[in-house]
Symmetry: C2
Subunit: 179 residues, 2 copies
Amino acid sequence: MPPKPASDSSRFETLIHDVPDFPKPGVVFKDITPLLADAAAFAEAIGQLAERVRVHRPTGIVATEARGFLLGAPLALAMRLPLIPVRKPGKLPRRTINASYQLEYGTDRVEMHADAIVAGGRYAIVDDVIATGGTAAATAEMVEVLGGHVACFAFLIELEFLNGRQRLGGRALEALLRY
Amino acid sequence: MPPKPASDSSRFETLIHDVPDFPKPGVVFKDITPLLADAAAFAEAIGQLAERVRVHRPTGIVATEARGFLLGAPLALAMRLPLIPVRKPGKLPRRTINASYQLEYGTDRVEMHADAIVAGGRYAIVDDVIATGGTAAATAEMVEVLGGHVACFAFLIELEFLNGRQRLGGRALEALLRY
């Protein structure tokens, strides 16, 4: 058999570096900074993500602090869609709602402005990586509490072995790279 | 005298909301989330920022966590330039350098990957707001320690009454809005 032609994602794959034992022993961190530093590859990644997200007809992009901003903001610009930031507690200045999610030990919380979502709107929830899916699920909960629909989740990277997808209740999920 | 014609920035100005007493009593916070939520105005802001930054011929965009990512990432995409994130301590996975800056009480620190800057490269340092200029000055210090030049600083908003500009040693500074 001839070798399989390089997939679209093979270019990106070489620009995502494994960093072992970060942030703690036994964890392999996916470092996206080499991709950010390659302007052509980054533009291509945002373009491909936009193409996949467009299929789900979102009316807004919801991006999660902090690395989610690196993908979500250019994606919103590329798609000419409103950008809604989800932040850690205490960072947003006006009235917020929040949602909690389980960590290995304890819980964490994310916030969104209470007027950020248009009732009936369709939102793409964007982050760099889906690991256990806690942040994504909490973000979806806030969008829905405020009367919005989750059009899809969109990630640069899905860490399939962590089964984050299972926490997202069968909603559409796009990822450029899977491990 | 006839009223002055609306400047280019008047559209943005109505989308930056003052939030009094945030994050603490006596401070008026500039909330940029209404601008982010207006896709056309946000695209126009990024376009105007790109135009001004281009004059300084940068070879890369350095953006500061977290709100700086919301401006810096789309700006890097629009200008097709490498994007270098500056983060809070402990967030970047590889070898970093850091710089400290003075707060009202105590100090804070930002980090950058030690291999993030190309020696001789020209960098635009981007954030949403310049207040006292501490983060911007610390970021410039890291860029220069690593052998890069600061082409310019670029902000959506300059809070002139806080004199942040004075900490930036006469380097070029672009801001779409001034208060």
